[in-house]
């Protein structure tokens, strides 16, 4: 059919003054503003869109909406390309490019169609029964299967678009902007409720856009326009067209995908959010999601030109496109006659209306009859013909039972077969919300029965198909929803427009329309699921083989698992399964619907919370200095900390060695502000310390500090740190950088839930203080200069003492603490003085060669001292005894968290992994952290392992590699030689004390 023939001169929602150029499979075409890609292709007489998933059969446009199983295309190219988009959902724009998928070399001549020739040996699940021999060949078979499967192609580049998210609360969320939804929204809005109305289409109106209903003596779209206009006038109403409500979650929380620029050319959308994810908490929800027409399952019902009847009507009335020149209508209900009449009125020849029902008397069939359309009642299409486009159908008489056909086949020429098997309410969101469905045998569909959430269904999704009834139900639902949400509904005047609603006779549900040969016997295929090429014979096979649960059948045949999510195949598939099992449909069951209703892009779900926006970054008050002086940063959770400070020409190794030397030989400075700081204040503060630390705290004097280990209730070390007693009832606890939140939460939890009457407040003060650590033999010289007024001499200020005093002129604290094994001071000032303190230190320290050092040097220095670090030496599986730190456990304390667990039998095993040092015999070697330790090297695995390396560094002080390790029974192995197998060699090491440097602690106490 030529373009000029297909497009009507008038009518519909397209703008004939605005012609849009687009490209299909590399060739230029023209469409109109208001078209979808599907309507534009039909207007250009293009019927062959793609090839099917399994058999590569030619396929055309089957529907006009989200349910499309066939017309799946690749949209755009390069970074903007998107696979598997339904042509029925793409709004046409100037310059659009699209192409067919799953065909090679072209959609007309597709090599993959060879699969159709082998179809006889490719029933459902054939792959489970073969490809097993020889077993290693499966990867070869699979290589070809994988390449044959899949549809479109993923982009190779990153998506240049941006995505937004928005939160919203409303009183009434109305889903669907058809007659019922508009009525509901209007009713709710007039009560003053906050209303959100979302609809997946580009304009509101729903099915009214594709029909010729008359309301109050004007086209229905005029009523739609007026309602939308009124809704827009309410300040509390938000209208969301192009917005698909795709998920209905617990507690009336719904997710909406709003398409902001998908209807524009990518270059016109640049810089604007492409899509927006609305997350709505609704007090009340009105579902007015309409219904989806069901196909009939008959022989070769998949040819291009076979289309849902209502969709053909939509193309005609909404887009002004005749989907064919000569149509045959194939129906089991009255509704499809409306399509026949509309098509005939538009000049489409009607070959015949084939109706499965022997007696056809409803008002619509009568009207069609009066219109002179031929009705073949009690007959069925038994074959379709045509390659890239339907050419004809064959019709025979149907037996009264509907189980076979008879008589002579009559051939009817046509290029369009309009199919209608009745309607399935779109109950997806209702089902997602937890609502229970019930089967309506009369209309052969599932309808909502019992709501679980604050929700009600109205209109076609509720099984109410007549337009006048939809309006009434919509008004009532909107009013009731607003009322339940607390709005006065009395006196709200709502008048439904006058609209004709022809009565409809019942339908005739047949699971399978019999063909000339038994189902599955001839060449003809009765497709149930067009997207996944699942046939009626496949479903019967599944039933026969014992896959009797609908879930088994779906999984075995892949029914409903395609890109269309089974929107047109679900109920027909169930009907065939029920028939095959001799059961009723409700006894076979339905599957539960899960989000998303239609596919949702990952970019939308991710939003802007990616890259730098995915988490907070925390920096210390001294951060700028580190950055300015070329510090290289290392992340510890959200914190950025200086890792090392390379000088010109230095690599990391050189820098770290220099920093280590400086601390050991003169003095170094480190920004310790990231360490967690928690204040405990109150008379029971010491009780808290006694519970959360394994050691005793009663005798800690004011102005003194103590180190402690924190255990979980399972007895395993999860934290350590120093706590200072600042006053009678005031303590300052320090934690590791990464452990601060956890430790605070741990203590807070016990205080809130168990020790509820203890008199103590805990406060996180990590960000209130800046802390500078000065370490090295010259530390005291420097601190003496800075801490004017405080006697920092060894006698007056012993190790683990803390004083308040002026630091570089600022009020602060001075503590004598060391994590490096050298003489060390920590100077703390209110955070806002942090930078000033640091620069004062740096200025005053220049004469001592004060060297800033980062976390890597700290790690080396602490490892030389055998100090433990979370994630290395303890990881939730290690007790204080394992760490050789029984001294940090007070056995005489009656109780502390984790104490009982330490008494368990397994804690006393002599072969538990225990912390030791490893001295590699090759002094130049540095063991990789994570290396495994063995007792004996065997020729081949398995080789029993006795432990692993937890920390390992080059010790600049000792001029050799050192390592800490957790080794089974390690404490009893001192002096033993163990082995560390690496990729290419085995290193021998002697088990030694974990304290490599200054074991007497002279320097620390110096």
């Amino acid at each position: 059919m030529k373009r000029s023939e297909a497009r009507l001169d008038t009518g519909g929602r397209v703008n004939r003054d605005r012609v849009l150029n687009f490209t299909w499979n590399g060739k230029p075409y023209k469409g109109l503003e208001g078209d979808t890609l599907a309507s534009a292709l039909l207007a250009n007489g293009i019927s062959l869109i793609g090839r099917s998933f399994k058999y590569h059969r030619p396929r055309g446009i089957f529907s006009a909406g989200a349910e499309e199983p066939n017309a799946i295309v690749q949209l755009e190219a390069g970074a903007y390309t998107q696979p598997n988009v339904k042509a029925t959902q793409i709004e046409l724009y100037e310059g659009l490019e699209a192409r067919s998928v799953n065909c090679w070399p072209t959609v007309e001549y597709d090599f993959g169609a060879v699969a159709n020739l082998c179809a006889k040996i490719l029933p459902a699940g054939f792959y489970y029964k073969t490809f097993m021999w020889p077993s290693r060949f499966w990867l070869t078979y699979e290589y070809f299967i994988r390449r044959a499967a899949g549809l479109g192609r993923a982009p190779k580049e990153a998506d240049p678009d941006i995505y937004d998210k928005a939160h919203a609360h409303c009183d009434v969320l109305v889903v669907g902007g058809g007659p019922a939804g508009l009525a509901a929204a209007l009713a709710a809005a007039r009560t003053g409720a906050r209303v959100i109305l979302a609809d997946e289409q580009s304009e509101f109106g729903g099915d009214l856009l594709g029909r010729r209903d008359v309301m109050d003596d004007a086209p229905a779209v005029e009523w739609v326009r007026k309602v939308v206009e009124e809704l827009a006038s309410f300040s509390e109403v938000r209208l969301l067209p192009r917005s698909t409500v795709f998920g209905y979650y617990d507690h009336n929380y719904l997710a909406i995908a709003e398409r902001r620029t998908d209807h524009l050319h990518p270059k016109d959308g640049l810089g604007k959010p492409r899509q927006r994810l609305w997350k709505v908490r609704a007090k009340q929800v009105v579902l007015a999601t309409g219904s989806i027409e069901r196909p009939l399952v008959f022989a070769d019902n998949d040819r291009p030109g076979v289309m849902l009847a209502e969709s053909a009507r939509t193309y005609l009335n909404r887009y002004g496109v005749k989907a064919g020149r000569r149509a045959v209508i194939f129906t089991n209900n009255d509704n499809a006659y409306a399509a026949a009449i509309d098509l005939a009125d538009a000049g489409v020849e009607i070959g015949a209306i084939v109706d499965l029902r022997p007696d056809v008397q409803g008002p619509l069939p009568q009207k069609a009859r009066a219109r002179g359309l031929e009705i073949l009642a009690g007959e069925a299409i038994v074959a379709t013909h045509g390659g890239r486009r339907a050419q004809s159908v064959e019709v025979m008489l149907l037996s009264p039972e509907g189980d076979h056909v008879h008589g002579t086949a009559r051939k009817i020429d046509c290029d369009l077969v309009c199919v209608s098997g009745g309607w399935s309410p779109t109950v997806h969101l209702f089902s997602q919300s937890g609502g229970k469905l019930t089967y309506d045998a009369g209309r052969a569909c599932f309808v909502p029965a019992k709501s679980k959430q604050a929700e009600r269904s109205a209109g076609a999704c509720h099984g109410t198909f007549g337009v006048a009834d939809c309006l009434d139900e919509g008004f009532a639902a909107g009013l009731a929803a607003a009322g339940t949400a607390g709005f006065a509904t009395a006196g709200i005047s709502l008048t439904a427009p006058a609209v004709e609603q022809p009565g409809e006779a019942g339908l005739r549900a047949l699971p399978i329309v019999p063909g000339k040969t038994a189902v599955g016997h001839g060449k003809a295929k009765h497709f149930v699921d067009l997207a996944n090429d699942v046939t009626a014979a496949d479903v019967r096979l599944a039933a026969r083989e014992g896959y009797r649960s609908v879930e088994h059948t779906k999984r075995y045949t892949t029914l409903g698992m395609g890109p269309d999510q089974g929107k047109t195949s679900n109920v027909p598939g169930l009907a065939i399964l029920a028939d095959a099992l001799g059961k009723e449909i409700p006894d076979v069951g339905t599957t539960t619907f899960r989000p998303p209703y239609t596919p949702v892009s990952y970019g939308l779900l991710a939003g802007r919370d990616v890259g730098e926006m995915s988490d907070l970054t925390r920096t210390t008050p001294i951060h700028e200095w580190h950055a300015m002086t070329g510090g290289v940063f290392d992340d510890a959770g959200q914190w950025r900390r200086p890792w090392y400070y390379p000088r010109a020409g230095e690599d990391m190794t050189a820098a770290v060695r220099r920093e280590c030397r400086a601390v050991r030989e003169s003095v170094g400075i480190m920004d310790a502000s990231t360490l967690g700081k928690i204040e405990l204040v109150g008379p029971d503060a010491v009780k808290v310390l006694n519970q959360v630390y394994a050691n005793a705290w009663d005798n800690l004097a004011v102005g003194r500090c103590r180190y402690g280990l924190m255990l979980g209730e399972d007895g395993m070390v999860f934290g350590d740190g120093v706590t200072a007693r600042l006053g009678e009832h005031r303590y300052l606890m320090t934690t590791t950088t990464g452990g601060a939140a956890r430790v605070f939460g741990w203590i807070d939890d016990w205080l809130q839930c168990e020790w509820t009457n203890w008199k103590v407040f805990i406060t996180s003060v990590t960000e209130q203080w800046a802390t500078v650590s000065i370490a090295g033999p010259r530390a005291r010289d420097l601190v003496r200069e800075l801490a004017v007024g405080t006697d920092v001499s060894a006698d007056a200020f012993p190790h683990m003492a803390i004083r308040e005093g002026k630091v570089a002129g600022f009020p602060g604290r001075i503590a004598r603490i060391s994590f490096t094994g050298e003489l060390g001071f920590e100077l703390s000032v209110p955070a806002s003085y942090g930078m000033a303190l640091w620069t004062a230190c740096v200025t005053a320290g220049a004469k001592y060669g004060l060297t800033p050092f980062g976390t890597e040097a700290v790690h080396v220095l602490r490892a030389e001292k055998g100090f433990i670090v979370n994630g290395h030496e303890f990881d939730g599986t290690v007790t204080p005894q394992d760490l050789g730190m029984a001294w940090a456990v007070n056995a005489s304390k009656p109780d502390f968290l984790g104490r009982r667990s330490l008494e368990r039998s397994d804690m006393k095993r002599a072969d538990r992994k225990q912390l030791v040092g490893l001295q590699v015999q090759d002094a130049t070697a540095v063991l990789p952290e994570g290396s495994q330790v063995v007792e004996r090297v065997l020729k081949a695995p398995p080789m029993p392992m006795i432990g692993h390396v937890t920390s390992s560094y080059w010790s600049e002080t000792l001029k050799r590699g050192i390592a800490l390790a957790l080794v089974a029974g390690g404490h009893a192995r001192m002096g033993q030689t163990v082995h560390i197998p690496l990729e290419d060699k085995v290193l021998d090491a002697v088990v030694v004390s974990p304290v490599f440097y200054d074991p007497e602690g002279k320097r620390l106490h110096g």
Binding site: F53, T81, P83, N84, I121, P123, Y127, Y128, K129, T130, M132, W138, L139, E142, I145, R146, A149, G150, G152, R153, A154, G247, Y253, K279, R544, E545, Y547, S549, M561, P563, Q565, R594, P596, Y602, G603, L605, A606, G611, E612, S614, G712, D714, M716, F718, W746, D749, C753, E754, D875, G876, S901, D906, M907, P928, E929, G930, S931, P941, H948, P981
Partner: protein, 418 residues
């Protein structure tokens, strides 16, 4: 059992595939069985099969409240691997790994085991140390695994952002070539068919409502289809293990959570291997062309089998960071399963406080891959009455002694109330 092959397919094509026999019978329950297995999931069905095949115990019923293979074996991300850290876990999972390659032929049912390799990506120095520790342990245990450089990863998974400016830098990773994916449903069906052929009764829609005991010994089960006596009973109920254990009067150290997964629309191949990462649980591409993404467990106890939106958003964030080309791709389908996670994230297998009542639960998020091995060693445990050597470390007694098998550095539960 009539064997499946290309020849049987051709033969049946002549009779329009109308001559295929049923995969399994749907028998009425017998009054008594030697062994009743509660739960027709992957583990339960495999246990039944190996009981019959390896131990000649064929008077066995597998009772299932819904449809067989409908639990987590139907709701996972189909990944098969054995790269576990502790030797106990490593050997247990590797027993399964040993059985996977021959499983299709063993069952005469193509489970499509596809050893396409597994990358574990390291994004931080801590990740890399952990991976190295794991790889060295596996190698010394004789289990195939090796380290990968960033360049090697970029070659094996070209869609992964391995650039130096990546939000989640790829510092390297580990590799297990024999790991891969399998067709999850087929595993359940294949075991069910093979077990049925050896005389095992599959009793579907037969919910267990009680466990009968006399004098501390199990005597049978109460079901929706009546009382069934049994000499031995095995609980293999994955997510619902806590519920079933309560019927036998004891509690378990685990919590049921929802774990979600989602798939994209089907596409032509873009990812040949399985990729796991500390940032995003797992990504692989199915034979159908869908990208299958595994997510973390939901943060609260749930038997709902449906997940929430925040977890999906989180997973999409990481996924689009790691794989920038996926932003325009779309989520087609998502589902949730109920996983029972023990405090040390390792399974619980072996005896229970009730005599002749055995348990095989707590596989948490790692159940699918272990099905063949778990079934094999658990069948041995039931048949002999004593834990198989690979099962012994996984007993319920470890929670009293404290000898946990910490795969994830489990730190015990933070517990208390008032």
């Amino acid at each position: 059992m009539r064997r499946y092959s290309i020849w049987s397919l051709l033969r049946n094509a002549r009779s329009y595939h109308e001559g295929w026999p049923e995969m399994w019978r749907s028998p009425e329950p017998k009054p008594e069985y030697d062994v009743v297995i509660i739960g027709a999931g992957g583990h339960g069905l495999a246990t039944a099969y190996y009981l019959a095949k390896e131990h000649g115990v064929t008077n066995v019923a597998v009772v299932e409240k819904g449809w067989l293979g409908g639990g987590n074996v139907a709701r996972n991300t189909t990944i098969v691997r054995s790269n576990y850290l502790s030797p106990e876990s490593a050997f247990l999972y590797d027993k399964a790994m040993e059985l996977w390659p021959g499983l299709s032929r063993e069952l005469n049912y193509n489970v499509m085991f596809s050893p396409r390799g597994l990358i574990n990506v390291g994004h931080s120095r801590e990740d890399m140390i952990e991976l190295r520790r794991r790889v060295r342990a596996l190698q010394l245990n004789g289990i195939e695994s090796s380290m990968l450089t960033t360049a090697e990863i970029a070659k094996k998974a070209p869609i992964l952002d391995c650039s130096p400016t990546a939000s989640n830098p790829v510092l390297g990773g580990s590799w297990q070539a024999k790991a891969g994916i399998a067709r999850h449903d087929a595993v359940a069906w294949g075991y069910a068919r093979a077990a049925d052929a050896r005389g095992v009764d599959m009793l579907q829609n037969c919910e267990v409502t009680g466990i009968r005991r006399e004098g501390g010994r199990v005597t049978g089960v109460e079901t929706a289809r009546g009382t069934i006596r049994a000499r031995k009973v095995a609980i293999v109920t994955a997510g619902h293990s806590g519920v079933v254990a309560a019927m036998a009067g004891f509690r378990l150290p685990l919590t049921a959570y929802t774990m979600q997964a989602f798939v994209s629309e089907p596409m032509k191949p873009i990812l040949d291997t399985v990729v796991m990462s500390s940032k995003l649980v797992s990504v692989s591409q199915s034979d159908k062309g869908e990208l299958v993404i595994g997510m973390s467990t939901e943060p609260y106890a749930s038997y709902s089998q449906r997940g929430s939106l925040p977890e999906v958003e989180r997973a999409a964030q990481t996924m689009t960071e790691l794989y920038p080309c996926t932003r325009r791709l779309r989520m087609l389908r998502k589902w949730g399963g109920t996983v029972d996670v023990p405090v040390d994230a390792s399974p619980i297998m072996g005896k229970t406080p009730v005599e002749n009542l055995f348990i095989n639960v707590g596989w948490g998020t790692g159940g699918f891959k272990s099905i063949p091995g778990s079934g094999f060693v658990f069948a041995h445990t039931i048949a002999t009455g004593e834990p198989h050597p690979l099962v012994a470390p996984f007993g319920l007694d470890r929670f009293a002694s404290g000898r946990l098998i910490s795969e994830h550095g489990a730190t015990g539960a933070l517990v208390h109330g008032e």
